[in-house]
């Protein structure tokens, strides 16, 4: 397979195009401007639609509309822009409309810092909008992984009729790496996907009341609303069984386990190799889906040997660590290694954190 050199944001956009995404709307915000800019060039080449919306709110609602017509559709933003998108995401989740969006996280809260961060973990995994809905959330740690996860995200969205989030960060988005791209889906397949949604898509139907399209992001009737939430719950529960993705690296004999996602996970993996070379039996659990969270991976740790878990993330206060703690269930110490504000996690800080655990200094 040919390998080319690509920037994360552009790679995500190209992966989406190859997966059959034919509608993108977005609003400029650093560090993800290359996503809309790439789509602006690329969509006309494949007969797709690109729109620069007047805001994140407008953009996400354009996507909600395009996806409701059966088209594979996507939007992207960064942190404070994602907050604005939460309205449309919640509507899509409630109405069970498949769509994909990407958060290239920057520092926060507020307008935050334009540099890379992982400050939106709770928003991404626990409450992407009002109403308690859930989403599959993929956290790439390399540009190649960002491509593969984006390419697959559209299938999950369609399967579940639910929004899917690619939770990237400013490092993944702006870094260039050698990658290989997945095959371009043929037009016939993209058209077939659209046709398969015609039954519920809002595009016009013959006069036939029970079978018209009525896309409802809410219900007047309480019984209907409860039923819709129960149906959604079934979908969420199936993820825990079928769709967890995780990298477990040398945890069998580990006396210390690192845990991190996204770019921090990649930095932690490099630290594990250095620690092993220095004679410390370190391992790593790197969730690739942070929702559903790979809780059971933490059951594979030998807690008789393990002196502690180091949870690593570019967020202050810690957020990801809360999920790690609930997976570890107090079977051993969980300490954190954190940075924030747009500062990138340093390998040395990770190694120092591990040494503290090994020396019983936490």
């Amino acid at each position: 397979m040919t390998r080319i050199f690509m920037k994360g944001c552009e790679a995500i956009a190209e992966a989406a195009v190859r997966a059959g995404c034919r509608f993108f709307a977005g609003y400029p915000i650093t560090p993800q401007n290359e996503i809309p800019e790439y789509f602006a060039r690329r969509m006309p080449e494949v007969g797709g639609v690109f729109i620069q919306g007047e805001s994140e709110i407008a953009s996400v609602n354009m996507v909600y509309g395009a996806a409701s017509s059966g088209t594979r559709a996507m939007t992207s933003s960064s942190s404070c822009g994602i907050s604005l998108k939460s309205e449309g995401i919640s509507y899509a989740a409630s109405a069970r409309i498949p769509m994909v969006y990407c958060n290239v996280q920057r520092g926060g809260p507020g307008v935050g810092a334009i540099q890379p961060a992982q400050q939106d973990y709770f928003q991404a995994t626990k409450a992407g909008g009002n109403g308690g809905f859930r989403m599959m959330v993929f956290a790439p740690s390399t540009v190649q992984e960002a491509i593969d996860l984006t390419y697959g995200a559209f299938d999950y969205a369609d399967r579940d009729r639910n929004p899917v989030l690619i939770l990237a960060d400013g490092v993944i988005g702006t870094m260039m790496e050698p990658v290989s791209l997945p095959e371009m889906k043929p037009e016939s397949e993209i058209e077939a996907i659209k046709q398969s949604k015609l039954k519920w898509a809002c595009v016009g139907h013959e006069l036939d009341y029970p079978n018209r399209s009525w896309i409802e992001p809410g219900h007047w009737n309480t019984a209907d609303m409860q039923k819709a939430n129960e149906e959604a719950l079934k979908v969420y529960e199936a993820w825990e069984v079928n769709d967890v993705k995780v990298e477990e690296y040398m945890i069998d004999d580990a006396e210390v386990v690192l845990s991190a996602y996204g770019i921090s996970g990649r930095i932690a993996a490099a630290a594990v190799d250095k620690l092993r070379a220095a004679g410390i039996k370190a391992g790593l659990i790197r969730p690739i889906t942070v929702s559903p969270f790979p809780y059971s991976s933490y059951d594979k740790i030998d807690y008789k040997k393990c002196k502690g878990i180091l949870s690593i993330e570019m967020s202050i206060p810690a957020q990801f660590a809360e999920d790690v703690k609930s997976a570890v269930k107090e079977r051993c110490l969980v300490s954190t290694c954190l940075c924030s504000g747009g500062n990138i996690m340093s390998e040395q800080a990770v190694i120092d954190g591990v040494k503290k655990i090994m020396e019983g200094r936490v």
Partner: protein
Amino acid sequence: MNLIYTRTKTIQEDKVSGFCPGCMHSTVIKLIGEVIEELNVVDKTCCITGIGCCGLHMDYIAYDTITAPHGRACAVATGIKRTNPESLVFTYQGDGDLAAIGLAETLSAANRGENFTVIFVNNGIYGMTGGQMAPTTLIGMKASTAPAGRNAKEHGYPMHMCELMNVLTAPYYLVRTSCNTPANVTRTKNAIKQAFKNQLEGKGFSMVEIVTSCPTNWGMDALSALDFIQDKMLAEFPLGVIRDKSKEAD
């Protein structure tokens, strides 16, 4: 005997209307349904419904519909129409939806000249939430959030959406009608038909603003509300074609 008038098939017979007595939403929904049938486009119609009393029709219309978040109907319509240009797409919105929370989405869609139709039901008040002040509430008119009546110093003046859009280059057809008299109902129907035809011919953005009543939240009976439209609402919101590019010399 000749059949000269019959109920539109685009409204379900077995459903009970949820509108208050004297509310004109039901009139407008009927007119839209008749036009869709007359143009023979039921099978490609998509209604993007705003949030408000306008949403009460969703249960009993017979064509495709989707609820947009409050104010976002024009953004949702943009997404649907751009990916399905063959569909007949219209938004159905109240004044709070279209002119307050959705002002950016509305004006931006008009400015892009999106090829869909906006049906704007201007009743001068927030109906669904119980009579709060709207951007179109008249000076002196009482609302639950302006108990002493709207005053210009504090609240500014009623917004004229057709006129506001008329400073944009792209919009094709901007018209204001009412449903307070039989003649005006007919004019409203004609305007809706013209707006839908424009879309089917790919002419671009059309908006039909319809001045209606909300007897419940105006605190009036239905007949007094008709007088209020005639005497007060239409004095502020004059009826007529604000722009029709088909009439402009090329």
